[in-house]
Symmetry: C2
Subunit: 292 residues, 2 copies
Amino acid sequence: MPHSAGEAWFTERMLGLAGYSYRIKRTLHSEQSAYQQIDAYETHSHGNLLVLDGCIMLTERDEFIYHELLAHVAAQTIAAPSRAAVVGGGDGGVVRELLKYPELHVSLVEIDERVVRVSERLFPKVSAGLRDPRVSVLFEDGAKYLASRAEGELDLIVVDSTDPVGPATALVQDSFYAQAARVLSSKGVFVAQTQSPFFHAAEIRAIYAALGGSFDRVWMYWGVCPSYPGQLWTFCYASKGSHPLDDFDPPAGLSQRLGTGYYSAAVHRAAFALPPFVQALLPEGHSQRVDL
Amino acid sequence: MPHSAGEAWFTERMLGLAGYSYRIKRTLHSEQSAYQQIDAYETHSHGNLLVLDGCIMLTERDEFIYHELLAHVAAQTIAAPSRAAVVGGGDGGVVRELLKYPELHVSLVEIDERVVRVSERLFPKVSAGLRDPRVSVLFEDGAKYLASRAEGELDLIVVDSTDPVGPATALVQDSFYAQAARVLSSKGVFVAQTQSPFFHAAEIRAIYAALGGSFDRVWMYWGVCPSYPGQLWTFCYASKGSHPLDDFDPPAGLSQRLGTGYYSAAVHRAAFALPPFVQALLPEGHSQRVDL
Protein backbone atom coordinates (compact mmCIF):
# COMPACT_ATOMS: atom_id res chain seq x y z
CA MET A 1 0.00 0.00 0.00
CA PRO A 2 1.53 3.34 -0.93
CA HIS A 3 2.49 5.85 1.71
CA SER A 4 0.05 8.68 1.06
CA ALA A 5 0.94 12.28 1.56
CA GLY A 6 -0.54 13.55 4.78
CA GLU A 7 -0.07 10.28 6.66
CA ALA A 8 2.28 10.41 9.65
CA TRP A 9 4.62 7.56 10.43
CA PHE A 10 7.23 6.80 13.05
CA THR A 11 10.15 4.76 11.71
CA GLU A 12 13.01 3.14 13.58
CA ARG A 13 16.06 2.73 11.39
CA MET A 14 17.88 -0.36 12.59
CA LEU A 15 21.60 0.27 12.19
CA GLY A 16 20.75 2.24 9.06
CA LEU A 17 20.02 -1.07 7.27
CA ALA A 18 16.39 -1.93 7.92
CA GLY A 19 13.42 -0.06 9.27
CA TYR A 20 10.24 -0.70 11.16
CA SER A 21 7.38 1.79 11.01
CA TYR A 22 4.02 2.40 12.57
CA ARG A 23 1.43 4.77 11.20
CA ILE A 24 0.69 7.29 13.92
CA LYS A 25 -2.26 9.44 14.79
CA ARG A 26 -0.27 11.92 16.88
CA THR A 27 2.79 12.59 18.96
CA LEU A 28 2.01 12.19 22.67
CA HIS A 29 5.34 13.16 24.17
CA SER A 30 8.86 14.26 23.22
CA GLU A 31 11.68 15.21 25.56
CA GLN A 32 15.42 14.94 26.01
CA SER A 33 15.96 13.61 29.52
CA ALA A 34 19.31 13.60 31.28
CA TYR A 35 19.97 10.19 29.71
CA GLN A 36 18.14 9.86 26.43
CA GLN A 37 15.54 11.12 24.00
CA ILE A 38 12.06 9.94 25.05
CA ASP A 39 9.21 9.96 22.54
CA ALA A 40 5.72 8.53 22.60
CA TYR A 41 3.14 8.27 19.84
CA GLU A 42 -0.40 7.04 19.38
CA THR A 43 -0.45 4.53 16.52
CA HIS A 44 -3.34 3.45 14.33
CA SER A 45 -2.99 -0.27 14.98
CA HIS A 46 -0.73 -0.92 17.97
CA GLY A 47 -1.92 1.40 20.71
CA ASN A 48 0.65 3.75 22.19
CA LEU A 49 4.30 3.46 21.19
CA LEU A 50 7.32 4.24 23.42
CA VAL A 51 10.62 5.17 21.78
CA LEU A 52 13.99 5.77 23.48
CA ASP A 53 16.82 7.31 21.45
CA GLY A 54 14.97 6.46 18.27
CA CYS A 55 14.56 2.76 19.16
CA ILE A 56 11.13 1.24 19.73
CA MET A 57 10.80 0.05 23.33
CA LEU A 58 7.25 -1.16 23.23
CA THR A 59 3.83 -0.94 21.68
CA GLU A 60 0.77 -1.55 23.81
CA ARG A 61 -0.34 -4.23 21.38
CA ASP A 62 2.62 -6.60 21.60
CA GLU A 63 4.60 -5.65 24.72
CA PHE A 64 3.16 -8.66 26.54
CA ILE A 65 5.40 -11.04 24.62
CA TYR A 66 8.68 -9.49 25.70
CA HIS A 67 7.62 -8.80 29.28
CA GLU A 68 6.18 -12.26 29.85
CA LEU A 69 9.34 -13.89 28.52
CA LEU A 70 11.58 -11.80 30.77
CA ALA A 71 9.52 -12.44 33.91
CA HIS A 72 7.98 -15.91 33.89
CA VAL A 73 10.64 -18.17 32.39
CA ALA A 74 12.88 -17.50 35.38
CA ALA A 75 10.22 -16.99 38.04
CA GLN A 76 8.58 -20.34 37.25
CA THR A 77 11.82 -22.22 37.91
CA ILE A 78 12.65 -20.67 41.30
CA ALA A 79 11.00 -22.29 44.30
CA ALA A 80 9.14 -19.63 46.32
CA PRO A 81 11.02 -16.55 45.08
CA SER A 82 10.81 -13.67 47.54
CA ARG A 83 13.18 -10.91 46.36
CA ALA A 84 13.63 -9.67 42.81
CA ALA A 85 15.33 -6.70 41.18
CA VAL A 86 14.51 -5.37 37.74
CA VAL A 87 17.32 -3.31 36.23
CA GLY A 88 15.99 -0.89 33.62
CA GLY A 89 12.41 -1.64 32.65
CA GLY A 90 11.13 1.78 33.72
CA ASP A 91 7.96 1.24 31.71
CA GLY A 92 6.88 -1.24 34.39
CA GLY A 93 6.02 -4.17 32.12
CA VAL A 94 8.30 -6.71 33.81
CA VAL A 95 7.16 -5.57 37.25
CA ARG A 96 3.53 -6.06 36.23
CA GLU A 97 4.28 -9.69 35.37
CA LEU A 98 6.38 -10.33 38.49
CA LEU A 99 3.56 -9.12 40.72
CA LYS A 100 1.67 -12.25 39.69
CA TYR A 101 3.87 -14.06 42.28
CA PRO A 102 2.16 -13.09 45.55
CA GLU A 103 5.19 -13.52 47.82
CA LEU A 104 7.57 -11.58 45.62
CA HIS A 105 8.94 -8.14 46.53
CA VAL A 106 10.39 -6.25 43.58
CA SER A 107 12.90 -3.41 43.36
CA LEU A 108 12.78 -1.56 40.07
CA VAL A 109 16.16 0.09 39.46
CA GLU A 110 15.79 2.52 36.59
CA ILE A 111 18.43 5.15 35.90
CA ASP A 112 16.02 7.54 34.20
CA GLU A 113 13.07 8.70 36.30
CA ARG A 114 11.54 10.33 33.26
CA VAL A 115 10.86 6.93 31.64
CA VAL A 116 8.82 5.94 34.67
CA ARG A 117 6.89 9.20 34.68
CA VAL A 118 6.10 9.04 30.98
CA SER A 119 4.98 5.43 31.30
CA GLU A 120 2.77 6.24 34.30
CA ARG A 121 1.03 8.91 32.27
CA LEU A 122 0.82 7.34 28.80
CA PHE A 123 1.11 3.56 29.35
CA PRO A 124 -1.07 2.90 32.39
CA LYS A 125 -1.67 -0.78 31.58
CA VAL A 126 2.06 -1.37 31.44
CA SER A 127 3.08 0.70 34.45
CA ALA A 128 0.18 -0.02 36.82
CA GLY A 129 2.25 -2.27 39.09
CA LEU A 130 4.79 0.41 39.91
CA ARG A 131 2.52 1.78 42.66
CA ASP A 132 1.99 -1.61 44.28
CA PRO A 133 3.15 -1.75 47.93
CA ARG A 134 5.37 -4.73 47.08
CA VAL A 135 7.38 -2.60 44.64
CA SER A 136 10.22 -0.19 45.42
CA VAL A 137 11.10 2.17 42.59
CA LEU A 138 14.70 3.38 42.75
CA PHE A 139 16.23 5.87 40.33
CA GLU A 140 19.78 4.57 40.37
CA ASP A 141 22.48 3.13 38.20
CA GLY A 142 21.81 -0.62 38.02
CA ALA A 143 25.48 -1.58 38.23
CA LYS A 144 26.01 0.50 41.37
CA TYR A 145 22.83 -0.91 42.85
CA LEU A 146 23.97 -4.49 42.46
CA ALA A 147 27.44 -3.67 43.81
CA SER A 148 25.80 -2.32 46.99
CA ARG A 149 23.69 -5.42 47.68
CA ALA A 150 24.54 -8.18 50.12
CA GLU A 151 25.69 -11.59 48.93
CA GLY A 152 22.83 -13.95 48.16
CA GLU A 153 20.18 -11.29 48.74
CA LEU A 154 18.12 -11.74 45.56
CA ASP A 155 16.33 -14.70 44.03
CA LEU A 156 15.84 -13.08 40.67
CA ILE A 157 17.56 -10.34 38.66
CA VAL A 158 15.93 -9.23 35.42
CA VAL A 159 17.79 -6.86 33.12
CA ASP A 160 15.35 -5.08 30.85
CA SER A 161 17.76 -2.74 29.14
CA THR A 162 18.02 -0.80 25.94
CA ASP A 163 20.64 -1.83 23.36
CA PRO A 164 24.11 -2.05 24.95
CA VAL A 165 25.12 1.45 23.91
CA GLY A 166 24.68 4.64 25.91
CA PRO A 167 23.37 4.18 29.46
CA ALA A 168 23.06 0.39 29.09
CA THR A 169 26.75 -0.25 28.29
CA ALA A 170 27.51 -1.00 31.94
CA LEU A 171 24.94 -3.80 31.94
CA VAL A 172 26.89 -6.12 29.63
CA GLN A 173 30.27 -5.89 31.41
CA ASP A 174 32.07 -8.78 33.12
CA SER A 175 31.97 -6.84 36.37
CA PHE A 176 28.20 -6.46 36.18
CA TYR A 177 27.69 -10.17 35.67
CA ALA A 178 30.09 -10.92 38.53
CA GLN A 179 28.08 -8.67 40.85
CA ALA A 180 24.85 -10.29 39.73
CA ALA A 181 26.21 -13.75 40.50
CA ARG A 182 27.41 -12.58 43.92
CA VAL A 183 24.08 -11.04 44.85
CA LEU A 184 21.97 -14.00 43.77
CA SER A 185 20.84 -16.67 46.22
CA SER A 186 21.80 -20.28 45.58
CA LYS A 187 18.50 -20.85 43.77
CA GLY A 188 18.69 -17.45 42.10
CA VAL A 189 18.41 -16.75 38.38
CA PHE A 190 19.69 -13.89 36.23
CA VAL A 191 17.80 -13.10 33.04
CA ALA A 192 18.40 -10.40 30.47
CA GLN A 193 17.41 -9.54 26.95
CA THR A 194 20.36 -10.36 24.69
CA GLN A 195 19.54 -8.82 21.30
CA SER A 196 18.92 -10.09 17.77
CA PRO A 197 20.82 -12.86 15.96
CA PHE A 198 20.23 -11.05 12.67
CA PHE A 199 21.47 -7.64 13.73
CA HIS A 200 23.73 -8.18 16.77
CA ALA A 201 25.63 -11.43 16.27
CA ALA A 202 28.90 -9.99 17.61
CA GLU A 203 27.17 -8.54 20.68
CA ILE A 204 25.53 -11.89 21.40
CA ARG A 205 28.84 -13.73 21.21
CA ALA A 206 30.39 -11.21 23.60
CA ILE A 207 27.50 -11.31 26.08
CA TYR A 208 27.45 -15.11 26.36
CA ALA A 209 31.22 -15.35 26.64
CA ALA A 210 31.11 -12.81 29.48
CA LEU A 211 28.18 -14.56 31.21
CA GLY A 212 30.16 -17.80 31.20
CA GLY A 213 32.81 -16.09 33.29
CA SER A 214 30.44 -15.51 36.19
CA PHE A 215 27.79 -18.22 35.95
CA ASP A 216 28.25 -21.98 35.89
CA ARG A 217 25.08 -22.48 33.93
CA VAL A 218 23.99 -20.29 31.05
CA TRP A 219 21.18 -20.94 28.58
CA MET A 220 19.74 -18.92 25.76
CA TYR A 221 16.05 -18.78 25.02
CA TRP A 222 14.06 -16.87 22.43
CA GLY A 223 10.75 -15.45 21.37
CA VAL A 224 9.17 -13.20 18.77
CA CYS A 225 9.33 -9.50 19.56
CA PRO A 226 7.64 -7.88 16.57
CA SER A 227 8.84 -4.37 17.42
CA TYR A 228 12.54 -5.23 17.77
CA PRO A 229 15.13 -5.59 14.97
CA GLY A 230 15.07 -9.05 13.43
CA GLN A 231 12.07 -9.97 15.63
CA LEU A 232 13.56 -13.31 16.66
CA TRP A 233 14.79 -11.99 20.00
CA THR A 234 17.09 -13.72 22.49
CA PHE A 235 17.27 -13.85 26.27
CA CYS A 236 19.72 -15.39 28.69
CA TYR A 237 18.92 -17.56 31.68
CA ALA A 238 21.99 -17.77 33.94
CA SER A 239 22.12 -19.43 37.33
CA LYS A 240 24.28 -21.01 39.98
CA GLY A 241 21.92 -23.92 40.49
CA SER A 242 18.46 -23.64 38.95
CA HIS A 243 17.78 -25.36 35.65
CA PRO A 244 15.29 -23.81 33.22
CA LEU A 245 13.69 -27.12 32.24
CA ASP A 246 14.51 -29.64 34.98
CA ASP A 247 13.28 -27.21 37.64
CA PHE A 248 10.16 -26.31 35.69
CA ASP A 249 7.14 -28.11 37.11
CA PRO A 250 4.15 -26.00 36.12
CA PRO A 251 0.63 -26.46 37.45
CA ALA A 252 -2.15 -27.31 35.00
CA GLY A 253 -3.50 -24.28 33.19
CA LEU A 254 -0.41 -22.17 33.79
CA SER A 255 -1.19 -19.50 31.21
CA GLN A 256 -4.75 -19.09 32.49
CA ARG A 257 -3.48 -18.75 36.07
CA LEU A 258 -0.97 -16.11 35.02
CA GLY A 259 -3.26 -14.43 32.50
CA THR A 260 -0.53 -14.55 29.86
CA GLY A 261 -0.98 -14.12 26.13
CA TYR A 262 2.31 -15.59 24.89
CA TYR A 263 3.76 -17.58 27.77
CA SER A 264 2.53 -21.08 28.59
CA ALA A 265 4.09 -24.28 29.86
CA ALA A 266 4.65 -25.52 26.31
CA VAL A 267 5.97 -22.15 25.14
CA HIS A 268 8.40 -22.12 28.11
CA ARG A 269 9.98 -25.36 26.94
CA ALA A 270 9.79 -24.44 23.27
CA ALA A 271 11.66 -21.20 23.93
CA PHE A 272 14.82 -23.18 24.70
CA ALA A 273 14.75 -25.00 21.35
CA LEU A 274 17.24 -22.82 19.52
CA PRO A 275 17.27 -22.79 15.74
CA PRO A 276 20.70 -24.03 14.59
CA PHE A 277 21.74 -20.64 13.21
CA VAL A 278 21.09 -19.11 16.64
CA GLN A 279 22.77 -21.96 18.51
CA ALA A 280 25.84 -21.27 16.36
CA LEU A 281 26.28 -17.89 18.08
CA LEU A 282 26.94 -19.48 21.46
CA PRO A 283 30.54 -19.95 22.60
CA GLU A 284 32.40 -23.21 21.96
CA GLY A 285 31.59 -25.77 24.60
CA HIS A 286 28.26 -24.11 25.25
CA SER A 287 26.21 -26.43 23.08
CA GLN A 288 22.64 -26.24 24.33
CA ARG A 289 20.91 -29.58 23.97
CA VAL A 290 17.21 -29.48 24.59
CA ASP A 291 15.20 -32.66 24.30
CA LEU A 292 11.57 -31.74 23.86
CA MET B 1 19.41 6.42 12.98
CA PRO B 2 17.97 9.17 10.78
CA HIS B 3 17.08 8.47 7.20
CA SER B 4 19.64 10.52 5.30
CA ALA B 5 18.84 12.18 2.04
CA GLY B 6 20.32 10.20 -0.84
CA GLU B 7 19.73 6.82 0.79
CA ALA B 8 17.35 4.53 -1.07
CA TRP B 9 14.89 2.31 0.78
CA PHE B 10 12.21 -0.18 -0.14
CA THR B 11 9.25 -0.16 2.24
CA GLU B 12 6.32 -2.53 2.46
CA ARG B 13 3.29 -0.85 4.00
CA MET B 14 1.35 -3.55 5.81
CA LEU B 15 -2.35 -2.74 5.46
CA GLY B 16 -1.36 0.93 5.67
CA LEU B 17 -0.72 0.46 9.41
CA ALA B 18 2.88 -0.66 9.82
CA GLY B 19 5.88 -0.82 7.56
CA TYR B 20 9.01 -2.83 7.04
CA SER B 21 11.94 -1.36 5.14
CA TYR B 22 15.30 -2.41 3.78
CA ARG B 23 17.97 0.00 2.67
CA ILE B 24 18.73 -0.82 -0.94
CA LYS B 25 21.75 -0.39 -3.16
CA ARG B 26 19.83 -0.62 -6.41
CA THR B 27 16.75 -1.85 -8.20
CA LEU B 28 17.45 -5.13 -9.98
CA HIS B 29 14.13 -5.69 -11.70
CA SER B 30 10.68 -4.18 -12.11
CA GLU B 31 7.85 -5.45 -14.29
CA GLN B 32 4.10 -5.86 -14.38
CA SER B 33 3.46 -9.48 -15.31
CA ALA B 34 0.08 -10.82 -16.39
CA TYR B 35 -0.68 -11.48 -12.72
CA GLN B 36 1.19 -9.03 -10.52
CA GLN B 37 3.88 -6.39 -10.12
CA ILE B 38 7.29 -8.06 -9.68
CA ASP B 39 10.19 -6.08 -8.20
CA ALA B 40 13.63 -7.06 -7.00
CA TYR B 41 16.25 -5.03 -5.17
CA GLU B 42 19.75 -5.47 -3.84
CA THR B 43 19.76 -4.57 -0.14
CA HIS B 44 22.67 -3.49 2.04
CA SER B 45 22.17 -6.13 4.72
CA HIS B 46 19.85 -8.88 3.50
CA GLY B 47 21.07 -9.82 0.03
CA ASN B 48 18.54 -9.60 -2.77
CA LEU B 49 14.91 -8.86 -2.02
CA LEU B 50 11.88 -10.13 -3.99
CA VAL B 51 8.64 -8.15 -3.87
CA LEU B 52 5.27 -9.09 -5.40
CA ASP B 53 2.52 -6.46 -5.55
CA GLY B 54 4.40 -4.39 -2.97
CA CYS B 55 4.67 -7.26 -0.45
CA ILE B 56 8.04 -8.70 0.51
CA MET B 57 8.25 -12.35 -0.56
CA LEU B 58 11.78 -13.07 0.56
CA THR B 59 15.23 -11.78 1.31
CA GLU B 60 18.23 -13.99 0.63
CA ARG B 61 19.29 -13.56 4.25
CA ASP B 62 16.25 -15.01 6.02
CA GLU B 63 14.25 -16.96 3.40
CA PHE B 64 15.59 -20.21 4.84
CA ILE B 65 13.28 -19.94 7.85
CA TYR B 66 10.04 -19.82 5.91
CA HIS B 67 11.05 -22.39 3.30
CA GLU B 68 12.37 -24.89 5.83
CA LEU B 69 9.18 -24.63 7.87
CA LEU B 70 6.97 -25.20 4.83
CA ALA B 71 8.96 -28.20 3.59
CA HIS B 72 10.37 -30.21 6.47
CA VAL B 73 7.68 -30.21 9.14
CA ALA B 74 5.42 -32.20 6.84
CA ALA B 75 8.05 -34.17 4.94
CA GLN B 76 9.58 -35.50 8.16
CA THR B 77 6.26 -37.00 9.27
CA ILE B 78 5.41 -38.86 6.04
CA ALA B 79 6.96 -42.32 5.67
CA ALA B 80 8.87 -42.50 2.36
CA PRO B 81 7.11 -39.65 0.53
CA SER B 82 7.39 -40.02 -3.23
CA ARG B 83 5.13 -37.41 -4.86
CA ALA B 84 4.79 -33.76 -3.84
CA ALA B 85 3.21 -30.68 -5.36
CA VAL B 86 4.15 -27.12 -4.47
CA VAL B 87 1.43 -24.61 -5.34
CA GLY B 88 2.87 -21.14 -5.79
CA GLY B 89 6.46 -20.89 -4.57
CA GLY B 90 7.82 -19.85 -7.94
CA ASP B 91 11.01 -18.61 -6.31
CA GLY B 92 11.96 -22.26 -5.78
CA GLY B 93 12.74 -22.12 -2.06
CA VAL B 94 10.36 -24.88 -1.01
CA VAL B 95 11.48 -27.06 -3.90
CA ARG B 96 15.12 -26.65 -2.87
CA GLU B 97 14.25 -27.99 0.60
CA LEU B 98 12.08 -30.85 -0.69
CA LEU B 99 14.91 -32.08 -2.93
CA LYS B 100 16.70 -33.08 0.28
CA TYR B 101 14.41 -36.15 0.22
CA PRO B 102 16.09 -38.34 -2.41
CA GLU B 103 13.00 -40.35 -3.41
CA LEU B 104 10.71 -37.36 -3.79
CA HIS B 105 9.48 -36.08 -7.16
CA VAL B 106 8.13 -32.56 -7.04
CA SER B 107 5.72 -30.65 -9.27
CA LEU B 108 5.94 -26.90 -8.90
CA VAL B 109 2.63 -25.35 -9.95
CA GLU B 110 3.14 -21.61 -10.30
CA ILE B 111 0.60 -19.48 -12.10
CA ASP B 112 3.11 -16.79 -13.04
CA GLU B 113 6.06 -17.94 -15.14
CA ARG B 114 7.70 -14.55 -14.70
CA VAL B 115 8.30 -15.20 -10.98
CA VAL B 116 10.26 -18.33 -11.86
CA ARG B 117 12.29 -16.54 -14.51
CA VAL B 118 13.14 -13.62 -12.25
CA SER B 119 14.13 -15.99 -9.45
CA GLU B 120 16.31 -18.05 -11.79
CA ARG B 121 18.19 -14.92 -12.78
CA LEU B 122 18.38 -12.97 -9.50
CA PHE B 123 17.95 -15.58 -6.72
CA PRO B 124 20.07 -18.52 -7.90
CA LYS B 125 20.56 -19.97 -4.40
CA VAL B 126 16.80 -20.09 -3.90
CA SER B 127 15.81 -21.32 -7.35
CA ALA B 128 18.65 -23.76 -8.09
CA GLY B 129 16.48 -26.83 -7.56
CA LEU B 130 14.01 -25.89 -10.28
CA ARG B 131 16.26 -27.44 -12.95
CA ASP B 132 16.66 -30.72 -11.08
CA PRO B 133 15.43 -33.75 -13.09
CA ARG B 134 13.14 -34.69 -10.19
CA VAL B 135 11.25 -31.40 -10.57
CA SER B 136 8.46 -30.57 -13.04
CA VAL B 137 7.72 -26.87 -13.36
CA LEU B 138 4.16 -26.19 -14.50
CA PHE B 139 2.75 -22.74 -15.18
CA GLU B 140 -0.82 -23.41 -14.21
CA ASP B 141 -3.54 -22.37 -11.83
CA GLY B 142 -2.99 -24.38 -8.65
CA ALA B 143 -6.70 -24.98 -8.05
CA LYS B 144 -7.21 -26.34 -11.57
CA TYR B 145 -4.09 -28.48 -11.22
CA LEU B 146 -5.37 -30.18 -8.09
CA ALA B 147 -8.82 -30.68 -9.59
CA SER B 148 -7.19 -32.57 -12.49
CA ARG B 149 -5.20 -34.97 -10.31
CA ALA B 150 -6.18 -38.53 -9.47
CA GLU B 151 -7.44 -39.48 -6.04
CA GLY B 152 -4.65 -40.28 -3.59
CA GLU B 153 -1.92 -39.34 -6.05
CA LEU B 154 0.17 -37.06 -3.83
CA ASP B 155 1.89 -37.55 -0.49
CA LEU B 156 2.50 -33.89 0.12
CA ILE B 157 0.91 -30.63 -0.99
CA VAL B 158 2.64 -27.38 -0.02
CA VAL B 159 0.89 -24.09 -0.66
CA ASP B 160 3.44 -21.28 -0.77
CA SER B 161 1.13 -18.46 -1.74
CA THR B 162 0.98 -14.71 -1.50
CA ASP B 163 -1.61 -13.10 0.78
CA PRO B 164 -5.12 -14.41 -0.02
CA VAL B 165 -5.99 -11.50 -2.29
CA GLY B 166 -5.50 -11.35 -6.07
CA PRO B 167 -4.28 -14.57 -7.70
CA ALA B 168 -4.08 -16.44 -4.37
CA THR B 169 -7.77 -16.03 -3.46
CA ALA B 170 -8.62 -19.41 -4.94
CA LEU B 171 -6.14 -21.12 -2.63
CA VAL B 172 -8.14 -20.50 0.57
CA GLN B 173 -11.52 -21.71 -0.71
CA ASP B 174 -13.44 -24.70 0.65
CA SER B 175 -13.34 -26.25 -2.82
CA PHE B 176 -9.55 -26.01 -2.95
CA TYR B 177 -9.15 -27.75 0.39
CA ALA B 178 -11.62 -30.43 -0.68
CA GLN B 179 -9.59 -31.11 -3.82
CA ALA B 180 -6.39 -31.22 -1.78
CA ALA B 181 -7.88 -33.80 0.58
CA ARG B 182 -9.11 -35.88 -2.36
CA VAL B 183 -5.74 -35.87 -4.10
CA LEU B 184 -3.71 -36.76 -1.02
CA SER B 185 -2.72 -40.33 -0.22
CA SER B 186 -3.80 -41.85 3.09
CA LYS B 187 -0.48 -40.80 4.67
CA GLY B 188 -0.50 -37.46 2.84
CA VAL B 189 -0.15 -34.02 4.40
CA PHE B 190 -1.29 -30.60 3.27
CA VAL B 191 0.68 -27.59 4.49
CA ALA B 192 0.21 -23.92 3.75
CA GLN B 193 1.28 -20.57 5.07
CA THR B 194 -1.65 -19.10 6.99
CA GLN B 195 -0.72 -15.46 7.70
CA SER B 196 -0.07 -13.33 10.77
CA PRO B 197 -2.04 -13.37 14.05
CA PHE B 198 -1.33 -9.67 14.46
CA PHE B 199 -2.47 -8.54 11.03
CA HIS B 200 -4.80 -11.25 9.69
CA ALA B 201 -6.81 -12.63 12.59
CA ALA B 202 -10.06 -12.80 10.60
CA GLU B 203 -8.34 -14.54 7.69
CA ILE B 204 -6.81 -17.11 10.04
CA ARG B 205 -10.19 -17.90 11.59
CA ALA B 206 -11.68 -18.37 8.15
CA ILE B 207 -8.84 -20.53 6.84
CA TYR B 208 -8.92 -22.95 9.79
CA ALA B 209 -12.69 -23.18 9.76
CA ALA B 210 -12.55 -24.07 6.06
CA LEU B 211 -9.72 -26.58 6.54
CA GLY B 212 -11.78 -28.37 9.17
CA GLY B 213 -14.42 -29.00 6.52
CA SER B 214 -12.09 -31.12 4.42
CA PHE B 215 -9.55 -32.58 6.82
CA ASP B 216 -10.12 -34.68 9.92
CA ARG B 217 -6.95 -33.45 11.53
CA VAL B 218 -5.72 -29.88 11.41
CA TRP B 219 -2.90 -28.32 13.40
CA MET B 220 -1.33 -24.89 13.40
CA TYR B 221 2.38 -24.35 13.78
CA TRP B 222 4.45 -21.21 13.72
CA GLY B 223 7.84 -19.61 13.25
CA VAL B 224 9.53 -16.26 12.92
CA CYS B 225 9.49 -14.78 9.42
CA PRO B 226 11.28 -11.46 9.84
CA SER B 227 10.19 -10.09 6.47
CA TYR B 228 6.45 -10.75 6.90
CA PRO B 229 3.90 -8.59 8.77
CA GLY B 230 3.88 -9.30 12.49
CA GLN B 231 6.81 -11.73 12.03
CA LEU B 232 5.18 -14.44 14.14
CA TRP B 233 3.94 -16.39 11.12
CA THR B 234 1.55 -19.34 11.08
CA PHE B 235 1.30 -22.50 9.00
CA CYS B 236 -1.24 -25.27 8.83
CA TYR B 237 -0.58 -29.01 8.88
CA ALA B 238 -3.68 -30.86 7.72
CA SER B 239 -3.92 -34.58 7.13
CA LYS B 240 -6.18 -37.59 6.86
CA GLY B 241 -3.93 -39.75 8.98
CA SER B 242 -0.44 -38.45 9.70
CA HIS B 243 0.24 -36.76 13.03
CA PRO B 244 2.82 -33.96 13.19
CA LEU B 245 4.32 -35.11 16.50
CA ASP B 246 3.37 -38.78 16.99
CA ASP B 247 4.63 -39.61 13.49
CA PHE B 248 7.82 -37.59 13.92
CA ASP B 249 10.75 -39.88 14.65
CA PRO B 250 13.82 -37.96 13.54
CA PRO B 251 17.31 -39.43 13.22
CA ALA B 252 20.10 -38.01 15.37
CA GLY B 253 21.57 -34.83 13.96
CA LEU B 254 18.55 -34.01 11.82
CA SER B 255 19.46 -30.39 11.13
CA GLN B 256 23.02 -31.32 10.12
CA ARG B 257 21.69 -34.01 7.76
CA LEU B 258 19.30 -31.56 6.14
CA GLY B 259 21.67 -28.59 6.27
CA THR B 260 18.99 -26.42 7.82
CA GLY B 261 19.53 -23.14 9.63
CA TYR B 262 16.20 -22.87 11.47
CA TYR B 263 14.64 -26.31 11.43
CA SER B 264 15.75 -29.03 13.83
CA ALA B 265 14.05 -31.85 15.72
CA ALA B 266 13.51 -29.62 18.76
CA VAL B 267 12.32 -26.70 16.63
CA HIS B 268 9.84 -29.03 14.86
CA ARG B 269 8.18 -29.89 18.17
CA ALA B 270 8.46 -26.36 19.52
CA ALA B 271 6.69 -24.97 16.46
CA PHE B 272 3.45 -26.65 17.58
CA ALA B 273 3.52 -24.94 21.00
CA LEU B 274 1.12 -22.11 20.22
CA PRO B 275 1.16 -19.00 22.36
CA PRO B 276 -2.28 -18.65 23.98
CA PHE B 277 -3.18 -15.53 21.97
CA VAL B 278 -2.53 -17.50 18.76
CA GLN B 279 -4.35 -20.60 20.00
CA ALA B 280 -7.34 -18.35 20.61
CA LEU B 281 -7.69 -17.80 16.85
CA LEU B 282 -8.49 -21.46 16.19
CA PRO B 283 -12.12 -22.54 15.86
CA GLU B 284 -14.07 -23.80 18.86
CA GLY B 285 -13.42 -27.47 19.46
CA HIS B 286 -10.04 -27.19 17.79
CA SER B 287 -8.02 -26.79 20.97
CA GLN B 288 -4.48 -27.83 20.16
CA ARG B 289 -2.84 -29.52 23.12
CA VAL B 290 0.86 -30.08 22.78
CA ASP B 291 2.77 -31.74 25.57
CA LEU B 292 6.45 -30.99 25.13
